[in-house]
């Protein structure tokens, strides 16, 4: 019980602090904080459709977040999930409209698998090999490949691009409709993609903590010297961990395509790959934590849209609030520290403080 409180209690309290500060800011500018937060919550959870949209929005964050968590577990920082997502999306969409007339279920699996392979290659194998054999830092390589991936996706549907569909819209053809992921809550964006995300989290958890693969991955991540001494192949696991990470980012792209967009359009600023970094870290790279953190961030996002509508708060202010919330959740120590300070101040009033010797800094 105590450990559960420690795991969940502090982030919750920290968010509360952020929310209170945000409320004060909102009130100072002239908005009604109760209305602001009421609209945030009702926009995220108030009813089947908002709830469905929140859960739907969490799917790419959970999947990409899992990927980033896996990399972190292996001591690697995959900052390029965004590009892995897009390059895999390109591949999935191409498979989706190029092979017509396949049974929907098989077609779906086909797309998911290809997206995972492409994401794994892009995010994992290339940076992994460069890291393992050329010493190239993965933060640079994944970031650079990420930009390249996004530009490549743009290239595919630019005028004259290889995947451009005829017509006014600069977009690719749609993937075969019988392969689309079906909706769970009607009129909301929630599809069976959410189930895929949950299953992926369980699978990642199981792989990390219950297989020899995960064991070696974590050992390499915590202490590569000891891992080497224990006979583990450190370069191989560098490649595999980044690959696994890219696989999940690629899966995120494919699932999102099959749930929502169904085709490549000019919307290349999803930002999922970056938010997913925060999702993974706030979850302490724990797969189940990633689910919660993913839903949390999605709720902030869907709720903030409703907040604009109901209380008229501009989008920029909701970013300020989001930044504050992340800040305080990360700075969770603030609470125990404040408590200690408060206690000390209280007891300090009772006792005469002793003269201190040689104290210079704190």
């Amino acid at each position: 019980m105590k450990s559960v409180w420690r795991a969940i209690g502090t982030p919750v309290l920290a968010s509360l602090i952020a929310i209170i500060i945000g409320g004060i800011i909102a009130a100072a500018i002239g908005y009604n904080p109760l209305q602001v937060y009421g609209s945030l919550i009702s926009g995220a959870f108030g009813g089947a459709i908002p709830l469905g949209n929140t859960l739907a929005g969490s799917v790419p964050l959970i999947l990409a977040g899992l990927g980033i968590a896996v990399a972190f577990r292996a001591g690697l920082f995959n900052i390029g999930a965004e590009g892995q997502y897009w390059i895999a999306t390109v591949a999935a969409v191409w498979i989706g409209y190029h092979f017509k007339g396949m049974p929907g279920f098989l077609h779906l699996i086909f797309m998911l698998v290809v997206a995972m392979v492409v994401g794994g290659l892009w995010g994992g194998i290339i940076p992994g090999l460069l890291k393992a054999y050329r010493g190239a830092h993965e933060v640079i390589t994944t970031m650079m490949l990420s930009y390249i991936g996004i530009l490549f996706a743009q290239y595919c549907i630019e005028p004259g691009g290889p995947m451009l569909e005829k017509g006014y819209q600069p977009q690719s053809p749609a993937v075969a409709q019988n392969a689309w992921l079906g909706s769970i809550i009607p009129n909301s964006q929630l599809t069976w993609g959410f189930a895929i995300a949950i299953v992926a989290a369980v699978v990642v958890w199981w792989i990390l903590f219950h297989t020899t693969f995960g064991f070696q991955l974590r050992a390499v991540g915590s202490n590569q010297f000891a891992a080497r001494y224990a006979g583990m192949n450190v370069p191989l696991y560098t490649v595999l961990a980044l690959g696994f990470s890219g696989v999940l980012a690629g899966l995120a792209g494919a699932v999102q395509m099959l749930s929502q967009d169904h085709r490549l359009t000019q919307s290349f600023s999803s930002g999922y790959g970056y938010t997913a970094i925060v999702v993974a870290l706030l979850a302490r790279n724990n797969p189940f934590g990633v689910i919660l953190a993913g839903i949390f961030f999605s709720a902030l996002s869907t709720g903030s849209q409703n907040m604009q509508l109901v209380s008229g708060i501009p989008q920029s202010l909701t970013d300020v609030l989001t930044g504050l919330i992340i800040f305080f959740v990360a700075a969770e120590r603030l609470i125990p520290m404040a408590l200690t300070w408060y206690r000390r101040r209280k007891s300090g009033r009772l006792q005469v403080s002793l003269p201190e010797g040689g104290r210079t800094d704190g």
Partner: protein
């Protein structure tokens, strides 16, 4: 003599551990005060509080009669306290001189590198602890790093010196020189707190000894004519066997054969040149040598972590020169690496995971890729009991154990996997006498069961008391191989400097 340092009922509680639980200590000017205690008794914790690195949970520290509250080592240094830490406090990326002068660098805004090198050269000459001030610490052997640690406190000219296991990595000669330094300082009236598990040393240098057990000081007594045996019994609380009995050797087949190998280190320097060596079943081959003469490269080559550039390595007749490290362990090679925290353990893993670190892929700990934690835990708990790892908690992270207990975990793991060949580098470094006794017993048991052991150690006593044969390495070559029973410290000491003795040798050549 005045009371320079006084510690009154000091307590330090970590979550779940009472590392210090009522410590009382008085150190007078000009005395060498030894602290003895088993691994985990709380010695380092106590010193870290005196040095300002930890803040006491309760209790008082008095320096020259005045109560002090150090919030950081900065304060302690200002009050004239110097400390050599048990674990190195060095910055590998910086040079020797930079490490030594750090915090009190010569120069104004600009750092005067030349002056720093000059000053360091001067004290290193003065105290005969030779190190090249311009070298990067990362490139130094651990023995040299130990010297740098000592030079650091000498540079600061402390009024109270704390030495936490300073001799663990020194050669006998270096230990001599350190003791001379201690003698000088003592003569100047500087009090010295000295922690060591080597009872001979304690007897030689200390005036007073305080014994700690389970976080408490149990006794303070003048060293008088306490024998090592007395001291050992005092600190462990039972009778300890200091020199274990060895059974007659039962030599078997050749197990490990190195045939003319050449090895380069990570920075491409050739560190092993045309080295040949054989370890047979049922024997302990001691490898003696001054630190940095190729021992670690030799071990890494056998482990497969460094490639051999020429020559071949054979295990029980099979050529394993090109076999991957993973498969070498499979073939029955086990290691106790020198740097336990770096190479031996994953400090973030709990004891269960550390204990199966090598065998996680084998039944019963895993089946077709899935780990069976129940079997692993049962095994870990058995080993923790057998090897007396404290605290006996399989869920604890390895990083939370005291150094001695970390070493026990590694030994437990390696010995219990029933290897054909065990390569043990400094297996008892930093261990208390009780623990050493236990580990020596384990090594001998392994030998008596017909396994081969390559024992690499800087401790001549350990080499002499355990080895059947002793190979002496110097500058990447085996200088000579001598008989373990008849060899003497003096003979080995000479060989270690590269001078081949004229005495009869029994070593074989391949």
């Amino acid at each position: 003599m005045t009371h320079f340092l006084e510690v009154i009922d000091l307590k330090k509680h970590f979550p779940g551990v009472k590392a210090n639980d009522g410590v009382n200590l008085t150190v007078k000017s000009g005395e060498v005060h030894a602290i003895l205690g088993e691994n985990g008794a709380g010695k380092s914790t106590l010193m870290n509080m005196i040095y300002g690195l930890y803040q006491p949970t309760s209790g008082q520290i008095l320096l020259e009669g005045k109560q002090v509250e150090f919030s950081s080592p900065r304060d302690a240094i200002r009050s004239g306290i110097g400390m050599v830490h048990q674990h190195f406090m060095l910055i590998p990326a910086l040079s020797v001189a930079e490490n030594i002068v750090l915090g009190d660098e010569p120069g104004g805004i600009q750092y005067n590198r030349k002056e720093a090198v000059r000053r360091v050269q001067q004290i290193s000459d003065q105290y005969k602890l030779q190190v090249d001030p311009t070298r990067r610490v990362a490139d130094l052997s651990v023995g040299l790093q130990q010297r740098v640690e000592i030079l650091k406190v000498l540079y600061r000219r402390a009024k109270l010196l704390i030495l936490d296991e300073p001799t663990a990595l020194l050669t006998p000669q270096e230990t001599r020189e350190l003791f001379e330094i201690v003698g000088h300082l003592k003569a100047e009236g500087i009090p010295i707190v000295f922690i060591s598990h080597k009872l001979d040393e304690v007897r030689e240098i200390a005036d007073v000894v305080t014994v700690m057990r389970a976080g408490k000081t149990v006794e303070t007594l003048p060293i008088g004519d306490a024998t090592p045996q007395d001291l050992a019994n005092l600190m462990v609380g039972r009778d300890v066997v200091l020199r274990v009995q060895k059974n007659p050797i039962q030599l078997g087949n050749k197990l490990l054969e190195l045939r003319g190998i050449h090895v380069r280190d990570a920075s491409r320097h050739e560190r092993i040149r045309d080295l040949s060596l054989t370890v047979s079943e049922g024997e302990i081959l001691g490898l003696a040598g001054i630190d940095g003469n190729g021992q670690s490269e030799l071990v890494e080559a056998v482990a497969g972590l460094l490639p051999t550039t020429a020559g071949s390595i054979h295990l029980a007749g099979q050529d394993i020169t090109r076999v991957r490290p993973f498969d070498r362990t499979e073939l029955g090679i086990a290691y106790v690496p020198q740097d336990r925290q770096r190479d031996g353990l994953v400090l973030d893993f709990d004891l269960v995971e550390n204990i199966i670190l090598r065998d996680f892929h084998k039944s019963p700990y895993s089946k077709s890729g899935a780990i069976n934690y129940r079997a692993a835990r049962a095994y870990a708990e058995r080993l923790i009991r057998e090897f007396d790892v404290r605290p006996a908690d399989a869920d604890r992270k390895a990083g939370e154990l005291s150094g001695g207990n970390q070493q026990k975990v590694i030994l437990a793991r390696e010995v219990s996997r029933d290897p054909r060949l065990l390569i043990a580098v400094q297996p008892t470094r930093g261990l208390d006498v009780g623990a050493i006794e236990g580990i020596h017993r384990q090594l001998l048991r392994l030998r008596d069961n017909g396994k081969g052991i390559l024992l690499v150690s800087l401790e001549l006593d350990e080499i002499l008391s355990l080895s059947d044969r002793i190979a002496v390495i110097h500058d990447g070559r085996i200088v000579d191989i001598v008989d373990g029973d008849s060899a003497t410290r003096e003979q080995l000491g000479l060989l270690m400097t590269g001078v081949k003795s004229t005495a009869e040798t029994r070593g074989e050549r391949v």
